[in-house]
Amino acid sequence: MARKLTAPLILVVVAFLASAGAGRGQMLQRLTVEAFVLSADTMQPQVDEPFHVVVTLHVRERVSAINNLQLPMLAQLELLGDERQTVTDPRGTQYREVVTVVVHAAGRFTIAPATLQAIDARDGKPKQWFTNDLPLSVRSSPTRIASGVAAGLFSQIARILAALIWLALLVGAALLAIFLLRRRAPVAPVPAPVAEPVSYQRVLSDAQRRRHIIEDALLVLRAERTRSAAVRVRAAVWRVIGAPEGETLGDVLRRPGCSEGPLRDLLVALERSAFTYDEDLAAAVEDACAALERYAESLT
């Protein structure tokens, strides 16, 4: 899929990244996670047509806010709005975040899982939960197809189709009216099917999840070769490998699997781009991009 990023899109992505990193400094909450799901109102959005990505979290505890919830980096998407809602009832707390987005190019891509860091109230251990990922198939807009092929012919067909739809709607309305008039006793409401809760412990392909995030990070860093972008990408990569805030590179390199190979190179390169002097920044970011690429390749 061709990935073209426009300047406004980059700004939005970067702003979104910043908001994703905002909660890092907060203490881990003690939570009993019952459901943690990523969904969208359509899995086949159309180019340039807004749709919603929804993160839903249910915890047993009654809390006023959810800390340390990280949304995925939505590098392929333009962010149009973000609405958060926290509802507390006797059964716990329901957190719902609705992100309105739009995509500008057709193709297939996957939104990486959202993550939540908290102390598991069941066993008192700090853990990281992941939602499901979200594979999307972006279709070209019908209006674009029409303009590209045979606009005249299509408009004629469209008129016929519209007439047929109107006819069908009229017939449907008439049938519905007859049905309602003939109905004598109210029918007991059928309970809405309860959706199978997505287990928060669902095992995702760790390599796949990391790859999505690393690819997004690469897009961000290529688009904005600044210190602040490098710092945010560094933070995102640290989250991917489960390194908590406040550790130094030395601490992170002592973690299992971090002390060698492309991941080590990536961590060192990002550290340089975050702390080197201004004249060296361009070269440092270039190295970091190359290291991100190598690490993403190593995850295949």
């Binding site: 406040g246 550790e247 130094t248 590179l249 030395g250 550290e271 702390f275 080197t276 060296d280």
Partner: protein, 324 residues
């Protein structure tokens, strides 16, 4: 072909003579690069003197050792003026402080007035004898040692004197393997002397390079936060030997001075240069934080009554500040 000499060459040369004690070797090099002085605390026989002597030899610089004793006088250190009867005038005799590397052995065995004789030398890099001031050689590094076990007949170092030391290193015993190496290396009658690997001009060039090492704004804030927490550690919890939870602030009378802030930045720059980088990292700051802070914090009597180690308190304060 000219090969540019690096500080790491000096480290390698010292490591050939001194087994283990990487912390001491690094501290000596950092003091040299940062134009500072080091206080070494540890029991006798841990190669403190050998390390200082080796450093001077590796630099082809002058080395002087001053054994601090209760009857030592300030003039024994800085020098004095003697009346020359033939010339009918006073002549100045310079003391052992005039050297590139000065080892002040058992510095706490001399009273405070003698220790204070070092103050001007360490801070101003000059000494005043009579009406004349004399500039000390450059580089000038004081390595002072203290024995923590033998407290009889010792004098506590004044706060102002302690603050002049860039860092304080606790010298520990070698590991079993290192001690075996020591046995093998020093069993030979003629141990290899340290080869000269750099000149005093090299040291001056390294110092200029260290001064130019970049310290990012995030790191500067981290340094300031690390020093600030030593003055207000109400939220830092420490476990006593009896597992009671204490606030670090309850154990501290006074925190580190702004000189500690400068010291942390100097040392982080030096460590970056030793590692071959021209920019400092959070790892550099964290690695030098304890040596730069431990002698600048005034602990009260509760540290002893609660049986808490000063280093445990310092480590807790360092851990309380997240690295950038």
């Amino acid at each position: 072909m000219t090969v540019e000499r690096q500080p790491s060459d000096l480290r390698a040369a010292l490591a050939k003579t001194i087994v283990g004690q990487e912390g001491v070797i690094e501290a000596l090099l950092l003091a040299l690069l940062s134009n500072g002085h080091v206080l070494l605390e540890g029991p006798p026989g841990l190669a403190k003197t050998l390390a200082c002597r080796s450093l001077a030899a590796a630099l082809e610089g002058d080395f002087k050792r001053i054994q601090f004793t209760p009857d030592l006088l300030p003039s024994d250190i800085v020098g004095t003026r003697i009346f020359d009867q033939r010339e009918s005038s006073f002549a100045t005799v310079l003391g052992p402080i005039f050297a590139n590397v000065v080892l002040a052995d058992e510095i706490n065995r001399a009273p405070a007035k003698v220790q204070s004789a070092l103050l001007e030398a360490m801070q101003e890099r000059q000494v005043t004898i009579g009406p004349e001031s004399h500039v000390l050689p450059d580089p000038f590094v004081v390595m002072a040692t203290m024995n923590p076990l033998d407290s009889e007949g010792t004098y506590a170092l004044p706060i102002a004197q302690m603050d002049r030391f860039l860092m304080k290193i606790s010298v520990g015993y070698p590991t079993r393997d290192e001690e075996l190496q020591i046995l093998d290396r020093f069993a030979m009658a003629d141990t290899q002397p340290v080869r000269c690997v750099a000149t005093l001009d090299d040291v001056r060039a390294w110092r200029a390079a260290a001064h130019a090492v970049h310290v990012d704004e995030k790191l500067k804030r981290y340094i300031v936060d690390l020093v600030a927490i030593t003055r207000a550690a109400q939220n830092v919890a420490v476990k006593s030997a009896g597992s009671a939870s204490l606030k670090a602030a309850e154990l501290i009378d006074y925190g580190a001075s702004p000189r500690a802030t400068l010291a942390l930045a100097f040392l982080a720059r030096g460590r970056a240069l030793l590692d071959g980088r021209d920019f400092a990292l959070p790892d550099d700051v964290r690695a030098v934080a304890a040596p730069a802070l431990r002698h600048r914090i005034g602990f009260n009597y509760r540290l002893a009554t609660e049986n808490v180690s000063a280093d445990v308190v310092i480590d807790a304060m360092i851990a309380a500040i997240p690295a950038p």
